[in-house]
């Protein structure tokens, strides 16, 4: 508490007594964009969702969110230079809708996948390639660097990695622990090789951020770490430049929320077509399983 007080004291002197106030803004009325999110990785079938953006209103409930899913899109994939298109099938889980393949289409390393999304008379297209994976050398369990009552059950995972030549590789790191249904990412999930090209490096595998998004300081102290006894799956994916640019701008935008010095960041969609924001992401990945000892 004392620390928090002192920190805000310093902060307030820095920002010189700045103060914050709720205001009303007349948000412009503009058509909501289509949001497309699609993945395909080696050994797995494609998975696509389509939704609409929502105008700014004061509260957005879970129902509002589920109502944004679009279930009338026609989505087709073509592989490399094939001319035959594979239609994806819409499935509903509750109110949410997803588009999956029912023809045993499996992602293959080296293939390029072209996607075409037709919805309400508009067409959006994108392409992605599943690049050759560049596996991590090893993953080591280490104690978390700080030990206190609330943190002594925590560990960190350190990855050892020899970055392959030449320059121009991009990566995304995902992880999943215990019974989590989905892979999750940290606040920063992507890497390029601009300064590590061809070098042997080590880095900390930060766990997923989803459960830490609330501004709960006590909880947030555990962000990035894993617990003793956790079973952790680490997905390390090679990604292409277009996808990297999407995540880079997306994460930069997320981290700029509320920062007065931060410029506006516009997320770079991988899709062609106006009024659409989205990513068509091919992962050339490896998945490592780590079981963290209880002691």
């Amino acid at each position: 508490m004392k620390q928090k007080f002192l920190f805000s004291l310093i902060a307030s002197i820095f920002i010189l007594q700045s103060c914050e106030k709720d205001i009303n803004i007349d948000f412009p009325i503009a058509p909501s964009p289509y949001v497309i999110e699609g993945y395909i990785e080696n050994g797995q079938g494609p998975f696509v969702t389509v939704s609409r953006g929502i105008s700014f209103i004061n509260e957005i409930s879970n129902d509002d969110f589920l109502n944004l899913f679009v279930d009338n899109a026609k989505i087709s994939l073509t592989v490399n230079n094939d001319t035959t298109a594979i239609e994806l099938k819409m499935v509903k889980i509750g109110n949410a809708s997803f588009y999956i393949d029912t023809t045993n289409l499996i992602g293959v390393i080296g293939n390029t996948y072209h996607i075409k999304v037709a919805v309400d008379g508009q067409v959006f297209t994108s392409s992605t390639q599943i690049l050759a994976p560049a596996p991590l050398d090893s993953i080591v369990v280490e104690p978390a660097p700080i030990t206190r009552a609330d943190t002594d059950s925590l560990v960190q995972l350190t990855a050892y990695f020899t970055e392959p030549n030449p320059l121009g590789n991009y990566y995304r790191l995902l992880s999943k622990k215990n019974n989590d249904p989905l892979f999750d990412v940290a606040f920063n999930s992507i890497y390029d090789d601009a300064i590590i090209n061809g070098k042997a490096i080590q880095f900390t595998i930060a766990g997923g951020k989803s459960q830490f998004q609330n501004n709960d300081t006590a909880n947030f102290r555990q962000y990035g770490y894993f617990k003793k006894g956790d079973k952790v799956l680490v997905k390390w994916a090679s990604i292409d430049k277009a996808q990297y640019d999407f995540w880079k701008t997306f994460e930069a935008q997320s981290s700029s929320f509320g920062n007065p010095f931060s410029p506006t960041v516009i997320v770079k969609s991988t899709f062609k077509g106006a009024g659409c924001l989205g990513v068509w992401a091919g992962y050339g990945c490896t998945i490592d399983t780590i079981i963290i000892p209880k002691d």
Binding site: L16, I23, A194
Partner: protein
């Protein structure tokens, strides 16, 4: 175009054509009798002719006249004029030592120009502020800041609440040439721009040129801010200082050899960190966190003879921010240093020369560490320059200036070095950019007829980027497909530019004139700024094969008139600026490390235009000014905003200020400042978007740029200066200031606060505004002995 140049050359040669008869000259310096400090811009008038000249930057004047008896008067606002009758039958040297008129100077005159200059000179869009006078105005947190006072003039806007960064006539923050004793200051702000690097105690005067830039200046499109450091008292020793809320200052000055040489040493440091230290336990991680900045100014000068004088001046300033958290530590120091060495030489009564060697350096660093990961980012710019300037006074109707300058620039891009575990991630080489910049100029300020005065000038500018350099050629998606390596000294790209400068004054009556100016400028070094304001992280980038020089043509016209025996000076100026090759970052740029930052740029056009109204009263107990600007600033970039024209971030429809000072008695002086401005332009998203895992993003329309406005800005500041004691030996004053008296919560930034989780309890979206400076009282104690 060719005809224009022929005309210019004729105009420049006119002194020789117009006056061929035998004359004698009177020349010398005008100085403060008390301190020996030169009085820049003081007036020397020949009564019989009703004509005069102003002293140059070194206090020197020269007048050539036919033989005869003349009454000559030297004057400077706040000083008793000296009148003298001379019999001009040979060349005469005459120095004037003016005594401060204590009654007049008590009256807190803010602008110290000779009032007649308002309508008599050819100069437009120029204001000089005298530091002593600025000190009576209200200040924020007790720190007198010359750059913030400049923002109260028409045509000059603050780059943000309480920020010392500024925009002039719709130009970007990097388009201002900020000179400290002629050395370029690349980053003029401390604490992210909230304070300027200029310690008020070390500064003599500041001149702002926002239009009709004379030929001796170049390299920036919008303005010149020329800051002169004090020389130091060459008669007696003095200490000046102050204790404020966040910083203290101390200046020492005195003669090294009485009447011949002097020194001035000024220091300033903030002490927020020191004030907090006692409250933080030594084991706390905060004990090693903190922030401070400091400044050092030094100036030495020595007069060898009436003909030769040398100056040395230096500035060194540094900001240091340190944070040591639980998981990571971060440390970022940044700062400028400049060095100026000058030699004034008088060849004869008519020809004055100043030779200067300059050094300027700006460095920014971030060091961070987190468990096994250590890294440091650094960037900067360094200049070595030499220049020579001549003032030639052939006769009373002409003042000719000519000279040249050469600069060698080194630009260090944002470079990362460090270690991850035991692996070094330092680059094999730093891809610095090197450039030669040179210019030569000539100008003449002359009376064509009794009513028409002209200032005609021509500047030739040259810029060349040279190797070594590696240029990474990218394809459409931004993947490097080729590298072009240039060897040391190899020409990469060279630019030659001619810049005509022309201004004319037509005197319409005894106290009024119409003036017009035409100015062409090029800018070869540019600030790559994502924020629209100046931040220490911003990078200076030279013109190259990819980045063409920014280019501006400015047209201005104005009506200038004085009322009530020059008690009131008024002006109306209209301007139009045509800007080319402006630089912005491409859409989707995030500001992360880039191998060649040029690859992240896109180029476009701009225009800005407006009207400036100004009324000033410089004399009397009650003085100050009222300024109002109505202006537009637009940009058009093929690759931004769908190619549609958009308003610049600093487009302001209305911008006005009222600055007043009132001397009640020798003890009390009061000051007031009121500011009103249209809200700054900003970007607003139109939709919130979600991904299947519930993370959200913001969607902006393709033509989103600067479509929305913050609410209008206004505030009132008040000050009272109490002189507790004033004798010849000791002076003690207290400045009480209130910033934002009626606590208007001006919007510094508007943002969307998004809380919650859409997968569970739902999201709450609340627009919020941040106000940086609400009601802030402050007190500063200043002393002098």
């Amino acid at each position: 175009m060719k005809n224009k140049f022929i005309l210019l050359i004729l105009l420049l040669a006119s002194p020789a054509i117009l006056f061929a008869q035998q004359k004698f000259s009177i020349s010398g310096y005008v100085k403060d009798a008390f301190s020996g400090e030169t009085l820049i811009g003081s007036t020397v008038v020949i009564k019989e002719l009703g004509k005069g000249v102003n002293t140059n930057e070194y206090g020197f004047y020269s007048i050539s006249l036919p033989a005869g008896k003349y009454q000559i008067v030297a004057s400077y606002l706040g000083f008793k004029p000296i009148s003298d009758t001379i019999n001009l039958n040979k060349n005469i040297k005459r120095n004037f030592f003016l005594k401060s008129n204590s009654i007049v100077s008590k009256e807190a005159i803010v602008l110290a120009e000779k009032a007649e200059n308002n309508f008599k000179s050819t100069q437009m869009g120029t204001q000089t502020l005298q530091m002593e006078k600025v000190k009576t105005l209200p200040v924020i947190l007790g720190e007198v800041d010359i750059l913030k006072t400049l923002q109260l003039l028409p045509g000059v806007q603050s780059s943000g609440e309480g920020n010392s960064g500024f925009y002039v006539r719709g130009g970007g923050p990097d388009q201002n040439l900020v000179l400290l004793d002629e050395a370029t200051v690349y980053n003029s702000g401390h604490l992210f721009g909230f304070f300027s690097v200029f310690n008020s105690d070390a500064i003599n005067s500041v001149t702002l040129i926002k239009g009709g830039m004379p030929a001796e200046y170049g390299g920036r499109l919008s303005s010149v801010v020329n800051v002169n450091m004090k020389e130091g008292n060459n008669q007696t020793y003095h200490a000046t200082g102050g204790v404020g809320l966040i910083a203290s200052r101390l200046t020492l000055e005195g003669p090294i050899q009485k009447g011949k040489s002097s020194f001035m040493l000024a220091a300033r440091r903030t002490y927020i960190d020191a004030l907090i230290k006692p409250f933080v336990s030594s084991t706390s991680t905060l004990s090693s966190s903190g922030y401070y900045f400091y400044d050092l100014n030094l100036k030495l000068n020595y007069q060898f003879s009436d003909k030769d004088r040398v100056f040395f001046s230096g500035y060194f300033g540094k900001d240091q921010f340190v944070f040591q958290g639980e998981r990571f530590g971060i440390k970022f120091p940044w700062g400028n240093s400049t060095t100026t060495m000058r030699w004034n030489h008088l060849f004869n009564e008519k020809l004055f020369m100043n030779t200067t060697a300059l050094f300027s350096d700006y460095i920014f660093k971030i060091g961070a560490s987190q468990s096994n990961f250590n890294f440091e980012l650094f960037s900067g710019v360094r200049d070595y320059s030499t220049k020579v300037d001549f003032d030639y006074f052939p006769n009373i109707r002409n003042q000719v200036k000519f000279g040249g300058v050469y600069t060698f620039h080194t630009f260090t891009p944002t470079t990362a070095t460090g270690t991850i575990g035991e692996t070094s991630i330092s680059p094999e080489k730093i891809n610095r950019q090197y450039a030669n910049e040179a210019a030569a100029y000539v100008s003449n300020d002359f009376d064509l007829t009794e009513k028409i005065k002209i200032n005609a000038g021509l500047r030739y500018a040259y810029f060349q980027q040279i190797g070594p350099y590696d240029r990474y050629v990218q394809n459409d998606v931004g993947t490097v497909v080729d590298t072009i390596s240039y060897t040391s000294g190899q020409n990469i790209k060279a630019y030659h530019r001619l810049e005509p400068r022309f201004s004319i004054r037509f005197q319409t009556s005894k106290s009024a004139s119409i003036k017009a100016a035409y100015t062409v400028t090029n800018q070869f070094v540019n600030l790559a700024s994502l924020s629209g304001s100046t931040l220490p992280t911003d990078l200076w980038v030279p013109a190259s094969s990819v980045v063409k020089p920014q280019f501006c043509t400015q047209y201005s016209i104005g009506y200038f008139r004085n009322f009530k025996d020059d008690q009131f000076e008024t002006s109306v100026e209209l301007y139009y600026k045509d800007l080319r090759n402006l630089i912005e970052f491409k859409e989707n740029t995030t500001g992360r490390l880039s191998a060649n930052i040029e690859n992240d740029f896109t180029f476009g056009l701009g225009r800005s235009y407006g009207a400036e109204f100004f009324v000033k009263k410089s004399v009397g107990k009650f003085n100050g000014w009222v300024g109002y600007t109505h202006s537009y600033a637009q940009r058009t970039f093929a690759d931004l905003n769908q190619g549609k024209t958009f308003f610049a971030r600093y487009d302001r429809r209305h911008d006005g200020s009222v600055v007043m000072s009132y001397t009640h008695n020798p003890k009390w002086t009061f000051g007031a400042v009121f500011v009103y401005g249209s809200g700054a332009a900003f970007n607003l998203p139109t939709s919130l978007v979600f991904f299947s895992n519930g993370t959200q993003g913001l969607y902006f329309e393709p033509d989103y740029r600067n479509k929305y406005r913050l609410s209008p800005y206004h505030r009132l500041d008040l000050s009272a200066t109490y002189t507790a004691k004033k004798t010849d030996k000791y002076e003690s004053t207290w400045n009480f200031s209130i910033y934002n008296v009626y606590n208007n919560l001006n919007q510094y930034i508007v943002y969307l606060d998004i809380q919650g989780d859409v997968l569970n309890q739902g999201l709450k979206v609340q627009p919020k505004q941040i106000t940086v400076f609400p009601f802030i009282p402050s007190v500063t104690w200043n002393f002098k002995f």
